[in-house]
Subunit: 258 residues, 2 copies
Amino acid sequence: MATGRTHRPATRSRGIPEATVARLPLYLRALTALSERSVPTVSSEELAAAAGVNSAKLRKDFSYLGSYGTRGVGYDVEYLVYQISRELGLTQDWPVVIVGIGNLGAALANYGGFASRGFRVAALIDADPAMAGKPVAGIPVQHTDDLEKIIKDNGVSIGVIATPAGAAQQVCDRLVAAGVTSILNFAPTVLSVPDGVDVRKVDLSIELQILAFHEQRKAGEETAAGDGGLPAAAPRGVAADTSADQGPDGDVPAVMPA
Amino acid sequence: MATGRTHRPATRSRGIPEATVARLPLYLRALTALSERSVPTVSSEELAAAAGVNSAKLRKDFSYLGSYGTRGVGYDVEYLVYQISRELGLTQDWPVVIVGIGNLGAALANYGGFASRGFRVAALIDADPAMAGKPVAGIPVQHTDDLEKIIKDNGVSIGVIATPAGAAQQVCDRLVAAGVTSILNFAPTVLSVPDGVDVRKVDLSIELQILAFHEQRKAGEETAAGDGGLPAAAPRGVAADTSADQGPDGDVPAVMPA
DNA sequence: GTCTGTGAACAACTTCACAGCC
DNA sequence: GGCTGTGAAGTTGTTCACAGAC
């Protein structure tokens, strides 16, 4: 489609690689922990260990943001926290709605990690009339009928879908029509969205399946290539290699707009 | 460390790329849906659309598994379901334990996607004595004291950690000591594990932060480069580009074994 | 001497484009 | 004509290794 040449037409001011963006929250979490322990500075080596990456990668990542370190010393923790927060857009307030208040929706509503990162659960929405008015995590559940009004009144641009798979696309369409432009999807379905809307997905069973793949492979090696078995004998970073994987999704582009 | 040359020393029988492995569950889900509708065959184009990827990628992925399609026709749905299931190790039964039966743990216990994919929730474990014996999703919660015995009695090799961050490493250590070699971690912490143990993580707030990054960028463009605004005007796949990202984690290697 | 920042080399992944089979 | 399977080209991401600042 289109010409097929020259991707990424406009839409890039400074161009931080996606892989780097995906790691910034990791660094931020590690830095926040250091900050709470009043650690003033940290080296790339230490921070990398705390975030679970290697130091070269971390330094490269930070180099895309700017030169925020001091050679021979390291990085100022507070300053870096601020810079990364700003880069991620966490210095502003993001009202989010959660649609589908089952077990998972309730877990999300109760999850402390949101509030501490600039996210504010503006509303909980469920299709079950019996849920309406019932407070979950201190927030009264509202009925799906009012979805559009809730989105607009609260200026919500990020929606979380935690409904059953069958309802997800319909909810998604309504969210998008009401003005939501970023969606975090927990339902095991591929969502179709128009251009300009971002979708990220988390599928719990996909993660387990990937683990099963590696688990099976381990079991196979144990009996097959008699290299060392698996009782903690392997001298090299075998596990580091096989587990250095990409994450749950390859990509969730704005699929099938037509 | 080590020599620093020649990665991936042994540990690769046929070498399916990680990126491909991560997409196999996606294909499997789409195929299962087709199978339930009794669709006999599917083309790479159709299946790719259903899975939310492009067809070239899908064909390349399948080529790593073998030549399971028919030129001019497409793929036999049932046959592919079987082949992918086998490759992922889902033709066998995987008993899993879930540790930490809070909101999230309960959601996981109730999640239907596990059972339908060869995973069996063998036990629920929580540190709160008040929870012990209480059934969640029809399974009685057991106390952490019995963790080692539960793992061994059930031959569990996959563990799911849904505890608070503070307890995660300790739980992880006990799981590993008891014989678990694959861990799915929902706690917002980096886990240290010995070689040979795989860790995958899901962090709900990290996903939101990545969305916030893109959301912020959209808002910035709206006012800055007056290209088209965002009222569904963009003619090209801008969103497809910015959302074609990697997933929540860069990698979770076996960090800091020492 | 320590530690960052970064070009250059390397590796992984994706997309193209078309040969080969139906 | 239709569609898969796959080398080759292109793109993105990671690691190395060292110059340069402290």
